[in-house]
Symmetry: C2
Subunit: 352 residues, 2 copies
């Protein structure tokens, strides 16, 4: 069922200036549930709760302008970790979010088609760049766009398009000078073969988020992988010193830390299995997800959201899909226990 | 003498994608002067070498997405420090650099006029936003623009336009829906009455840099002060989480630290007086500057640049003005001594 709509149905230019709902805002949750026990447990994002350990940061990283050599070093580390064709294909940025309107602006304003439901900033930012924005559930419709956007694997449902499908869409788009953006924000938890980072050439732009898998979302670091000529245009929009000194140092260390990356991939898989088992015990239906979050469907989702909120546990809800809740991973045993207890009490009230 | 040129003379769209020359790149200097003594002394920027002490940074500032409450807190601290009309007039950003094309894009593409010579990114970024870019030395020409840009006080010469002049330009621009951008990157060292931050309404946008006066350029933090409706548009382009968690915390602490700010204003004035005295002793002519840097004119400027470079001291030169050198402030007694010795030796060689 394709959700088809004209651009103004999805985002008018005025709408594109309005802030959207996102996970991770604990202070808003604390205002909504003022009597909840502290500490509040934030399961509303897909961010790894067991962060990469921040290395010692010399004072010069804060004091001095970030040097071009440090930027080049980070680009090289990113090219190696993501298997991008070369460091010249890598544009480091202060988070992928700030890249979205700039990447959408790499192709002249036309028709943007977004595989939905997905991260809602894609539509807003494509509209900001002047595109008419359409959402679709129909993969074939992506090939008719000037700008096609796929989050892969997707949030919140974990939908994964295979490489051949994506390369086929890109080939169709190329005939009309269209651009394919593949947002691989959550790709780190999947086997490298699932990524199209190695194909980030010609009309394929791959976005990679640093903060989610490495659990360092506050650092603000992300990457666009793309054709070197487009990369130069994107870098020119960001200007010099786009990435902070601390982010350059942390990113270079983390992306090169193979043992931590392996351990973390394994640990996240175990944690999501544990979450699935817990949902099984309390009778919650898991309908999707990846190793950083699970998507649950429940008729009583709204009641469950509030029940968890009163217990000091924030999960992500979706105004367009009120029966859905997305659960991130608890970061420690105390959080696991509070989640299990809260879900069990909710089940005891027979609302699931 | 107005330097008048068509837009393509200054920046073609292709040029706007090319990186420009900037200060602060010590690794490039180390490649250029491989035999220079270490540590290299960087006097090539206008950044305070005695940084604000970075407060302890909790791990959650790196791990979690920056919260909207922290952004609001920083905007309030900035509004108070800069005397902006309100926090709704403040857009925090990861440095002012990344704001330049976005601010230039707040007005439809037309004629951008830049009071020159000045920070070279203004022209490049106005061209990126689609404007035809003209540089001028004629203040009256600014009133004929769609986008007028003044760096105040200016780098490298310290030129300062008074409030009435700037408000007069803004009033003229308003008749043609033009925008005045006042880049107050170096304003912190002057009396508050020199700033037009309190007038950042209607068609006046003020840019303030955090990293220069506070000596924390690696943190990447800057602000646009502007009409709340324009501020909402600018925020929408940046999207959520534009500023890192560490930058939010450091910025909020520093901007509210009145005693440090007062001490630093005083200390920077003393340091530039000391620099002037040193230049006097070695017969170098100071033709401008502010309390963060001095602009020197010397026929032998190119020779002096290389002499200093071989002594491990990097200063800023200007390809369009080869007789100019800009000197930032030495950060400690060892650096002062090396600078004085190097300049004395150069004078001894009678090249000044």
């Amino acid at each position: 069922m394709a959700k088809s709509a004209s651009a103004t149905d999805i985002f008018s230019h005025g709408d594109a200036d309005e802030p959207l709902l996102h996970g991770g805002d604990l202070s808003a949750a604390q205002r909504q549930f003022p009597d909840a026990p502290e500490p509040f447990i934030d399961l509303s994002t897909g961010i790894n709760p067991n962060s990469y350990p921040v290395p010692p940061l010399g004072s010069e990283l804060f004091a001095r302008l970030p040097e071009s050599e440090a930027v080049a070093g980070l680009a090289a580390a990113a090219a190696a970790y993501y298997s991008a064709p070369s460091a010249a294909h890598v544009v480091p940025a202060p988070g992928t979010q700030i890249l979205l309107p700039l990447v959408a602006g790499l192709v002249r304003p036309g028709r943007a088609v977004i595989l939905s439901p997905t991260y809602n900033e894609h539509g807003r930012c494509a509209a900001l760049a002047g595109h008419r924005v359409t959402e679709t559930l129909d993969i074939a419709a992506l090939g008719e766009a000037d700008l096609a956007i796929v989050t892969n694997p997707n949030s919140p449902d974990g939908r994964l398009l295979d490489r051949d499908t994506l390369l086929g869409i890109a080939a169709k788009l190329r005939l009309r000078s269209g651009l394919l953006v593949v947002d691989e924000a959550f790709m780190d938890v999947l086997p490298p073969s699932a990524s199209v980072a190695g194909e980030a050439v010609r009309n394929i732009v791959v976005l990679r988020s640093f903060g989610k898998f490495f659990g360092l979302a506050g650092v603000r670091l992300g990457f666009a992988l793309l054709d070197p000529q487009l990369a130069a245009r994107l870098s020119a929009s960001l200007g010099p010193w786009a990435v902070s000194g601390p982010a350059l140092a942390i990113g270079a260390a983390a992306l090169a830390d193979g043992p931590w990356i392996e351990r973390t991939r394994h640990g996240l898989k175990e944690a999501t299995s544990r979450l699935d088992a817990l949902f099984g015990r309390v009778g919650l239906e898991v309908i999707g997800g990846i190793a950083l979050f699970r998507l649950v469907r429940a008729q009583a989702a709204t009641a469950l959201f509030h029940h968890l909120g009163h217990d000091g546990i924030l999960v992500r809800r979706f105004p367009d899909n009120p029966a859905w809740l997305r659960f991130g991973l608890p970061g420690n045993e105390a959080a696991w226990t509070r989640l299990e207890n809260s879900l069990s009490r909710f089940r005891g009230s027979e609302k699931v």
